[in-house]
């Protein structure tokens, strides 16, 4: 197809046409070259093709171009696979990194919260169902107070305090009586009702003090009541051991009952 003499228009035209045609290859031709490149052409056909390559530079160029394209495609896909491999490796590493660490922390957190939950519920359970105050509430009934005319001391201030006490105004009663007790600390009535008023206000520490004062006098008319309420005061303040000791001394109808309840805990 080449002409030895350059510059011939006819040849140039042919060359141009060939160049244009260089990119338009038939499917048949393409598949033939493809087979050749993959080594799937029978020997005789392969030889023929090689001859054609040697004699036809355009054809040779076509074969080279297809070779470049096909090997290029293979390489591009290989690169893609390597990218994929890298991506998968990275995410596998991350999963691996996360899983044991996260599992360990999750387990620790879970165990810790479980332990906490158990502790809290046990404590709460204990408080809710076997609370001293609950037991206290079951057994405590505030002393109703004295009928004013029955007080051993005709004392206006004391009576007024008693009026307050009986109407539930324990703070007011305490204020009145504490004025009196300064001058008469040995007065067991005062001590008893101060103790009683404080206990009604759940002020167990002061109640305990006053009730103990009452018990210093064994002959006190209020000894039995004081003992009972002292037991309840200890119970309310959480001193169960003391409470049990006191209740054991008590002759109160429900003393042994409450002792049993306390011992069962």
């Amino acid at each position: 197809m080449y002409s030895a003499a350059k510059g011939e228009t006819k040849t140039d035209e042919r060359n141009l046409t060939n160049l244009e045609n260089n990119h338009h290859i038939s499917q048949e031709q393409f598949e033939r070259i493809e087979k050749y490149l993959s080594g799937d052409l029978p020997r005789s056909e392969a030889d023929a093709l090689e001859k054609e390559k040697a004699h036809n530079p355009e054809f040779k160029a076509q074969v080279e171009e297809i070779k470049l394209i096909l090997s290029g495609v293979e390489e591009f896909e290989m690169k893609g696979l390597l990218e994929e491999a890298h991506g998968e490796m990275v995410s596998a590493k991350e999963d691996f990194k996360q899983t044991p660490t996260i599992t360990i922390w999750k387990t620790i957190a879970w165990a810790a919260s479980l332990a906490l939950l158990m502790f809290v519920s046990i404590t709460l359970w204990d408080k809710l169902f076997t609370e001293e105050s609950d037991l206290f509430a079951q057994y405590y009934e505030a002393d109703p107070g004295l009928v004013t005319a029955m007080s051993s001391e005709t004392n206006y201030e004391f009576d007024r305090g008693m009026v307050d006490y009986k109407s539930g105004k324990y703070e007011e009663a305490i204020v009145r009586w504490e004025k009196l007790i300064r001058d008469r600390p040995e007065n067991d009535t005062l001590q008893y009702f101060l103790g009683s008023a404080h206990l009604a206000l759940k002020k167990t520490e002061t109640a305990i003090f006053h009730l103990n004062e009452v018990l210093k006098n064994e002959d006190s008319a209020f000894a039995e009541e004081a003992l009972w309420y002292l037991g309840l005061a200890y119970l309310k303040s959480g001193e169960e051991e003391e409470a049990i000791k006191i209740f054991r001394r008590s002759q109160h109808a429900r003393a042994s009952e409450i002792v049993n309840e306390l011992l069962e805990k």
Partner: protein, 186 residues
């Protein structure tokens, strides 16, 4: 880790690489990367460098195994070969950056080098053109030329006849050729 170093024999690895077997290639990649990354990181490199060197080295051993330049008889395992390639590539890189990138035409070039560079450039252009092909074309060409699946498998995947598959393959190649032609005219 799912993979252990002893998952494949040497001959299995070579065969897998020759056949472009994704499983073998991915396994080799993930089992050898840590060692190479470690080397590069402890030699003034970054993770980005490690990734690039790893992938370039994989391409090198892939080509050499296919061409027969590397065989089992070489005495060294594929893994060792890969590591050596990666190490050399990295050392070349360090040396090149030390020299502050002497321009290509000042380097001692030869015909072979220039032809190789020329081919590299062509391939780079071709790669971007290839990526601009549609998904179907790339899937067809991937299956034919990379996974080397047979005609009936490929036709079945796309639910075509074999003739249609063949025809579509041809058309995709034509597309690529046309795009290549257009770049040459620019």
């Amino acid at each position: 880790m799912e993979y252990t170093s002893n998952k494949y024999r040497q001959d299995e690895i070579l065969q897998g690489i020759r056949e472009n077997h994704p499983k073998v290639i991915k396994w080799l990649y993930s089992s050898e990367y840590p060692k190479i990354e470690k080397y590069i990181l402890s030699n003034k490199g970054t993770e980005e460098h490690a990734k690039d060197i790893m992938q370039e080295s994989m391409i090198v051993i892939w080509k050499n195994i296919k061409s027969g330049k590397f065989t089992i008889q070489n005495g060294t395992a594929v893994q060792g070969y890969l590591y050596r390639i990666a190490k050399n590539k990295w050392l070349d890189h360090l040396r090149a950056s030390k020299q502050n990138m002497i321009p290509l035409n000042e380097q001692i070039g030869n015909q072979e080098q220039e032809e190789s560079d020329d081919k590299e450039r062509k391939l780079q252009v071709l790669e971007s053109l290839y990526r601009s092909l549609g998904d179907t074309c790339r899937e067809i060409l991937k299956r034919f030329y990379f996974r080397k699946q047979n005609m009936s498998t490929i036709a079945a995947h796309f639910e075509w006849t074999e003739a249609t598959a063949r025809n579509n393959k041809y058309r995709c190649i034509q597309q690529l050729k046309e795009k290549l032609k257009l770049t040459k005219e620019i």
